[in-house]
Symmetry: C2
Subunit: 328 residues, 2 copies
């Protein structure tokens, strides 16, 4: 069915169903001029936004509408996770071409609602407009955090360890796989492609990190090199990373060989992992609950500036932020 047949208001009716996951703090959801909710008592409010553009952030040939909806929300939830917060409400803006089918939009919202259910987040509003060319999706998310649970980029202290959650580089390698015909035949491809298409933001861990003693944190959206540089810059400190300690999945190592790339480069410069990088004292790190290697210490904070990578042999290398520059 064509969008013109259901119209903007018909579309809103389709979207409304299942949009509210947690009614406790919601006063007005979809359907008025703005959403209304009760802020958490004694909590701080968080606000962030991310825009995904067709042919820049995703490709309709390799991303299903369900995956696109899921990921667009994941990207923003990850920012809330990096602040130690719990995401609460999202508003979604969509620019759609006239050729977009109603089914496509319904599937896209199905992905949005799936991740909202998983993370107990309410879809409370948005805007749907036409686009002369290419799909654009913007998600703005609010969250809340106890003042003592807030994680900033600044706050790293000399002697702190630098640590990360999960594996790094999977998403970027998954992106390379997606553009290779027949990737489905490689068994190791699936976790990588999944990491790229439907990343799972580290909200639960992020919410605990401050209580566990983390002194600063960032989510890894632009590659470890960029994110470590941001922590170093915001904290006014230097960071040393040890290449052999950076957690790489066995699947990444296998797939990287296929592309004749170094697995470590995916971790350093690939981006879109939506894991967390944080700093914490060695004593507190030792006390972190280690479920299935969910935390890896990969380096140290020192006085100074910039980020240095140390291999098992050879000279230390200065790591510059080489994340995706949108305008290059």
């Amino acid at each position: 069915m064509k969008l013109s047949e259901v119209g903007e208001f018909g579309l809103i009716d389709l979207i409304k169903d299942g949009a509210t996951v947690d009614q406790t703090s919601l006063v007005v959801g979809i359907g008025d001029d703005a959403a209304v909710y009760v802020p958490g008592r004694g909590k701080l409010e968080l606000l962030t936004t991310d825009m995904l553009v067709e042919k820049v952030h995703f490709d309709l040939t390799t991303t299903s509408p369900w995956q696109l909806g899921y990921k667009a929300v994941a990207v923003s939830l990850s920012d809330i996770a990096a602040m130690g917060g719990k995401p609460k409400h999202i508003v979604v803006s969509l620019a759609l071409t006239v050729e977009t089918s109603v089914e496509y939009v319904v599937n896209l919202y199905s992905g949005i609602k799936e991740i909202c259910r998983e993370y107990s987040v309410n879809l409370v509003g948005g805007d749907t407009v036409s686009s002369p060319e290419g799909l654009v999706i913007n998600v703005a998310v609010t969250g809340e955090v106890e003042p003592a649970g807030l994680l900033r980029r600044s706050g790293a202290k000399p002697g702190d360890l630098v640590a990360v959650t999960g594996y790094l580089g999977n998403s970027a390698c998954g992106f390379d796989l997606l553009r290779r015909r027949g990737w489905e035949d490689y068994e190791y491809a699936w976790p990588l492609v999944t990491a790229h298409l439907t990343p799972r933001p580290q909200v639960a861990l992020g919410q605990s990190l401050a209580a566990w003693g983390a002194t600063s944190a960032n989510d890894i959206s632009d590659g470890l090199a960029s994110e470590a540089n941001e922590l170093a810059k915001a904290s006014g400190k230097a960071i040393k990373l040890y290449s052999e300690k950076i957690p790489l999945s066995p699947e990444l190592v296998q797939a990287a060989a296929l592309f004749r790339k170094k697995p470590l480069d995916y971790a350093l410069y690939g981006g879109e992992d939506y894991q967390l990088v944080f700093t914490i004292s060695p004593e507190q790190f030792a006390r972190l609950p280690q479920v299935a290697g969910q935390f890896s210490a990969i380096g140290e904070v020192a006085e100074g500036e910039g980020v240095t990578l140390l291999g098992q042999t050879g000279k230390p290398v200065r790591l510059n932020p080489k994340g995706y520059n949108h305008f290059r």
Copy 2:
């Protein structure tokens, strides 16, 4: 200067300056993963978002970057006004083509910061990405409202008057003028073109309306016909409007003649006025502070459904929502 020369982080440094207008509740502004603020004690939080797309909502030949920035924020502040709220924080997402100059972006943010200053709103974050074709701007805004000050679309009661702020139709007629060569020569054109390019959301009036007895409200973004239908539908009531009571500016009447259009049609179907339409008892309406005719009673609420327009002569006409359908 090209965007590629300053990069995403250079751009953020340019944007940061002057972004914070009201420091009182802001904990973290631009530059971390999310903005952090203290919600108003005992207040409800509001959240809304709007997306403007080049060639759909604006045209670079008739809209300056400053005006575009101003208007993109105005559109969202108007939604907060329609809920009776005070806008507090915005995040701005921009998709820019590689050809966009740094100067263009700086001017756009200058317009954003101007309206933020006027309405005491903080610019606290955003996202800047590339677009293969055409500029896209999305603004998400949070606001706050006392529970007793909240205005919803539902709540209109039989016997209530329907009232509006300001003049209607100016913006749509201004849009027609903008596409006519030599419009600058018509003196009456300026207030109309200004109403279109830099609309002023009715935040101050919106914040007082609930205390003054308004029972429901909507902002007029899609034309009076659509907005009145929304109030009627949400409230489960009928609305009667009197055509001769709908406030039309003398400039609109003059300019409409130029286009051989009925001035009233601009008010009913034009949209983008960002005035407020609300319902209120006749007694309470009589007590409204009337500064320079800022309120006009234009109709009544009754039992039933739908919106009817009554002229000075002739039969009542059913008014259907004929606002802009994005997918037609």
